[in-house]
């Protein structure tokens, strides 16, 4: 064997070792803050990258704009980054929203890679379109974290609620518990058709409701939008007269508005955690449950990126804990806020993820919702 060949082989082995260390199968208990970054059931893959010294340049690439949840997400990322103990790790924080166009979001992430940012957290507008840019990020050494609407790519850390459990075991189960008689007609208010989140949440709902074959289900499509939800629920009330319970994905203030406007008897309602909905349940004594996917996912994702950069390992697919509260336990100033707008997300962050993930309304409102 010539020296040249030996050197080449040596380089090859080193390259292989480096490549392996990028996705080292560490034991699940070794991952960073497992009480917050809980691996999804059946997901054993662990992500770790070569550690580097801070402070870091971090970017957040949001997709859709003009949604209150997304604006609060941006505010909470800024509020988290502004806390002195976190600010020390962050040299620069840049947040952009690119709208619904997938080409624009890919270009935004490419621009951050080119500009040498250490990490980019993003809410993908489409779960399938990011494979090429994920590869470019890995080549350039940029850490990507996908959250809320995660990408279908095992090479990046993805952070998301467990939607089946969210809608089924937690929300639908609580609604059933609060029905005096487990029979009659239940109204299901669904989200945007064709979206994978709507599909999973519907499956979770069916899983629980199908245990009661004597219950009849009426489905309407509310597009996760309060106005649409109110309209379709009013229409359903006009057609069916009355329901024995309502399970709504998002935009559920539309449900309580429609029920109250129609003078409908108080039946259990399961819904989101927007201030308007929680208030409507608490102040009108409507039995039910508020289940939250908190905009606090933003800072949880940014903190995950920083942990990776510091050399910690994280599960490739993280399922966040799901905060929820029933009507009987709702307290003003804690679960709902009489002085805040109806669109305010009452669960500001994930308490299970540490004290730095809980925000007061004042802290959030001090931050602007734009990219600065």
């Amino acid at each position: 064997m010539t020296t040249k060949n030996r050197v080449r082989r040596c380089i090859l082995w080193t390259a292989a070792a480096v490549a392996l260390s990028a996705a080292l199968p560490a034991a699940a208990s070794d991952t960073h803050m497992p009480e917050c970054y809980t691996p999804a059931a059946g997901s054993e893959r662990v992500i770790r990258v070569e550690p580097r010294r801070g402070p870091y340049r971090i970017a957040v690439a949001n997709g859709h704009t003009g949604i209150p949840w997304r604006m609060q997400m941006i505010r909470s990322v800024k509020a988290w980054a502004a806390k002195p103990e976190n600010a020390a790790d962050i040299a620069e924080l840049k947040i952009v929203s690119t709208g619904a166009d997938v080409a624009a979001q890919i270009a935004a992430i490419d621009n951050f890679i080119q500009a040498g940012y250490d990490a980019v957290a993003f809410i993908a507008v489409n779960p399938k379109a990011f494979d090429a840019v994920i590869r470019r990020a890995r080549t350039a050494g940029t850490v990507l974290v996908s959250f809320d609407n995660p990408v279908d790519n095992p090479d990046v850390v993805r952070i998301t609620p467990e939607w089946m459990e969210f809608e089924g075991a937690i929300k639908t189960r609580a609604v059933l518990d609060q029905m005096p008689r487990k029979a009659g007609t239940v109204l299901e208010v669904r989200g945007i058709p064709g979206n994978s989140t709507d599909r999973d949440r519907h499956a979770g709902f069916r899983q629980v409701i199908d245990e009661h074959p004597e219950i009849r289900v009426v489905e309407v499509v509310g597009n996760w939008d309060t106005g649409t939800v109110q309209k379709v629920v009013s229409d359903a009330l006009a057609v069916h007269g009355r329901f024995d319970a309502v399970v709504c994905q998002h935009g559920c203030r539309g449900v309580t508005n429609a029920l109250l406007a129609a003078g409908h008897p108080k039946v259990p309602v399961g819904g989101d955690a927007e201030n308007g909905f929680v208030r409507a349940l608490a102040e009108n004594g409507i039995p039910g449950i508020s289940v939250s996917t908190s905009p606090g996912q933003g800072p949880v994702a940014v903190r995950a990126a920083i942990a990776l950069l510091k050399g910690e390992s994280l599960p490739a697919l993280v399922n966040l804990p799901t905060p929820h509260v029933r009507t009987a336990d709702m307290k003003p100033g804690v679960n709902y806020f009489p002085d805040m707008p109806d669109t305010y997300e009452t669960v500001s962050g994930y308490a299970a993820c540490g004290p730095d993930m809980v925000f007061t309304p004042d802290e959030l409102m001090r931050q602007s919702a734009d990219g600065n």
Binding site: T65, T98, A103, A104, A107, N111, A129
Partner: protein, 325 residues
């Protein structure tokens, strides 16, 4: 020589204005980009705009006939979904897949043309209807985002030549020159412009009016297919809902590029600049840190100002009849 140059500038003043605007915006973008001008930055910038530029080229050809193609975005989405199912496998399969996707696009466009010409339906209504139908077909082909596209070819087409020139821009230039160039010089191409400026006169002169119109819509479909293919190379997947923003943005790019919506005058090159201007404005906004909510407002303002400047010629006119020349 000088008078010839002057004539050239005068005949293409609006397209040149669009290119000047693009150049100014691009220089501004590169100057505020933290990385500055590099191959990667230019490639990301070009890749973002090329799909829209392809659609805008097709839209221009239809607009030149005094028509409009509201199905452009739907054809792009359908071709993107078709690409995610066909453009993979060994090189021969990839080549066949690309040819099939182009054929699908051209066929959809030709269908539009036949409905407009034979069915005698207003283009705006005909293409609105076919657009809805084709969106439905795209959803049938691929109900949710997915599929895959050959990634070696995708990497090559979204990269750079020599680390400087984005391949996507070269691809755009070559395809437009190789397809629209010869057509524009032919009888059909001249008829496309003649139909837009005075259809009865073109008909009375014995020009092949119907053939030109069908050809214009078919070309629009073909260029939309290029857009859908390129989007597939960018995303390595197909998405049935991807086309929504492309239809109206392509019309905006056509207007920015100086083509008259009344038909008969304008250029494909101007529309390419228009499409890239729209995308550059979007990129500028986020590196200047402007509120993303203000982006549509900002884009609208740029469009309005550019069109108003283009219409400045009207102010210098002494005799109103000159407008109709």
């Amino acid at each position: 020589m000088i008078p010839a140059l002057r004539l050239l500038v005068r005949h293409n003043d609006r397209a040149l204005a669009a290119w000047a605007l693009l150049l100014a915006l691009l220089l501004l973008f590169l100057s505020i980009h933290p990385r500055g001008a590099s191959g990667g930055v230019l490639a990301a910038w070009a890749n973002q705009g090329v799909a829209l530029a392809f659609v805008a080229v097709g839209q221009t050809i239809v607009v030149l006939t005094r028509g409009i193609d509201l199905s452009a975005g739907a054809i792009l989405a359908l071709c993107n979904c078709a690409a995610s199912a066909l453009v993979r496998g060994d090189p021969a399969e990839v080549a066949l897949g690309i040819a099939a996707v182009c054929l699908i696009g051209a066929a959809c466009g030709a269908l539009n043309g036949l409905i407009v010409v034979r069915g005698r339906i207003q283009p705006i209504v005909a293409t609105l209807a076919t657009g809805a139908i084709l969106s439905g077909v795209a959803l049938l082909v691929r109900p949710t985002p997915g599929g895959s596209v050959d990634d070696r070819l995708a990497d090559a087409l979204t990269g750079t030549v020599g680390g400087v020139v984005p391949v996507s821009l070269l691809l755009l230039a070559v395809l437009v020159a190789a397809i629209w160039g010869p057509v524009r010089a032919s009888l059909t191409g001249r008829t496309i412009l003649a139909v837009g400026s005075a259809e009865p006169a073109a008909y009375m002169s014995g020009l092949p009016v119907d053939r030109a119109k069908v050809a214009a819509y078919a070309l629009a479909g073909l260029f939309a297919a290029f857009g859908g293919l390129f989007l597939g190379f960018q995303t390595l997947s197909g998405d049935p809902s991807v086309g929504a923003s492309y239809t109206l943005n392509s019309v905006a790019a056509v207007v920015l590029g100086g083509t008259a919506l009344a038909g008969g005058a304008g250029s494909v090159a101007g529309s390419i600049a228009g499409a890239l201007v729209l995308r550059t404005v979007g990129s500028l906004i986020f590196f200047t840190g402007l509120d993303p909510m203000a982006q549509p407002l900002f884009e609208g303002a740029v469009l309005l100002v550019a069109v108003a400047l283009g219409a400045g010629r009207l102010l210098r006119i002494r005799n109103r009849l000159e407008v109709f020349r």
